[in-house]
């Protein structure tokens, strides 16, 4: 994809130099690493929403152990710093999977897996296996990251959704029952649609935090945009094709602009969504009628 005139970088000047510099294979890896961020968001967001619903339903369940599970899940994750969770979950999952594979694939090895502070499994149990391509390693790391993100943010979403379900006025649900609706009809026709009004501010907030948490991928060893910004921005001596001083400032500035843009767009999107799901239509921008309270006198 590199341009014709880029053949000998040492002869280039000005914008020609810059255009060639910005199209080096490493830079192309940098650009594709933005896709990693989007992929993480695209996969994590729906999973988080699902986990959030599951957690909220568990907390509301009439079955006590399920209720316990829901409460423990949400309060435990809420009480732990995110960064620690992101460091803990991938390592724990990694070891869990390798331990299981070790037991299945190498039943003959009797030596304990935990030897002092070492975690030793047979070669066949390694995840990914030692002869796997680099992209498999990346994918494995990415998958662990997705799981860690989903667990953490799922707990927050569960809290938000649980709170939103509680916030729907009781009389709205009672009225539905009074008109003969079954429990599931009440839930589908009234409870769920009205829940969004109360959940959206929290969920939009959560989305922003999720977007801003994506650089944690770097912490998990995934080659994300932060990794590449550091790599490419660092000073390059004349040993390199395109030598330059420490430009990390500019690279990080670019990331800053990227995240600002992303959160700004998200904000606009959620404002629209909130408008759409607003229970009090008179408050939405689509209407010019003055606001009134739902159910006067409440």
């Amino acid at each position: 994809m590199s341009l014709q005139y880029c053949a000998d970088p040492s002869l280039l000047h000005g914008w020609q130099w810059l255009s060639c510099y910005l199209l080096t294979p490493k830079h192309q890896l940098f650009y594709t690493s933005f896709l990693v961020v989007f992929a993480l968001l695209a996969i994590t967001a729906p999973v988080v929403l699902l986990l959030g619903f599951a957690g909220a339903m568990a907390k509301r369940s009439s079955f006590l152990p399920l209720r316990w599970f829901g409460s423990i899940y949400t309060s435990m994750v809420r009480g732990v710093p995110d960064v620690i969770f992101f460091l803990f979950v991938p390592i724990a999952l990694d070891q869990l999977v390798e331990y299981a594979r070790h037991k299945i694939k190498c039943p003959d090895i009797t030596a304990p897996v935990y030897q002092g502070s070492d975690f030793i499994v047979c070669a066949a149990a390694k995840m990914p296996t030692s002869n796997a391509d680099a992209w498999v390693h990346q994918l494995w790391g990415f998958s662990l990251a997705v799981i860690a993100f989903s667990i953490v943010f799922g707990a927050f979403a569960a809290n938000t959704i649980h709170g939103a379900l509680q916030a729907v006025p009781h009389n709205q649900l009672e009225t539905a029952r009074a008109y003969g609706m079954s429990d599931s009809q009440v839930f589908r026709r009234v409870h769920l649609p009205q829940m969004w009004t109360y959940a959206l501010p929290g969920l939009s907030n959560l989305w922003m935090i999720l977007v801003k948490a994506t650089p944690l991928l770097f912490l998990l060893g995934v080659e994300d945009i932060v990794y590449w910004a550091r790599e490419l921005g660092g000073a390059k001596t004349s040993y390199f094709e395109y030598p330059h001083p420490d430009w990390r400032l500019w690279y990080f500035l670019a990331l800053l602009v990227f995240y600002l843009l992303l959160t700004w767009l998200s904000g606009k999107f959620f404002a629209r969504l909130t408008d759409k799901f607003s229970v009090d239509k008179s408050r939405s921008k689509a209407n010019s009628i003055k606001p009134t309270l739902i159910g006067i006198g409440r």
Binding site: N171, Y179, G180, S182, V190, S282, T292, I294, R298
Partner: protein, 265 residues
Amino acid sequence: MNSNTGSTGSVPVIELRNIHKKYDDLEVLKGIDLVANKGDVIALIGSSGSGKSTLLRCANLLEIPQQGDIIFQGQAVTWGKKKGQRTPSDKNQLQQMRTNLSMVFQQFNLWAHMTVLQNVVEAPITVLKQNPAEANNRGRELLDKVGIGDKCDQFPSQLSGGQQQRAAIARALAMNPAAMLFDEPTSALDPELEAEVVRVIQALALEGRTMIIVTHDMKLAYDVANHVIFLHDGVIVEQGTPDEVFKNTRSPRLQQFLAATGQEG
């Protein structure tokens, strides 16, 4: 004209027999009997805390009385137990009752996320499984009837209290119920808006609709009811025709109540 004893060959729609309702140690209803025959308009009056709203809510089982029988169109509610509490055991029967006893609430309780017309057709479509197109047509007719046909596509929060309550009445009518239950339908409205709701209720009474109305509005009770029940401390202290109850008041308690509400005579 009134046959509240249920013994003169009229058709009872809903009968409440010896209803007792307790919240923890507080006994709100202490053995109430009430029969609404077809075409009856019964007004339940009494001070706040007398148990009149609770009694009304027992009729469609929004409240479950610990003791007593509820008979809907000749069928007694069958009871089961859940977590030590008495509870209706037959879901179909419960649905049958609730769809036939549509309720109008003090705070209107229109579903806030639906337009006025959607509110009216919601239960007919999801519960009664009516054809949506037909339900919509009928919904528009009913909204016309209560005088807010032009508000079909507005949301409840865009309507005045009086309009909301009329929409709620249209929603109740859309169920084509055997009886309508009104829980203080005018209490949340200022006098001007109250009048428009009262007119609608009066029109329904003239149509011969069976209604039970809990109200603080003695004029409404006098004008539309054919039978008035005065509740105090969970028991029926006095009942009879509006003239008997309001003009020839016997019990001192009711005299006191009417004096306090400034509606005596």
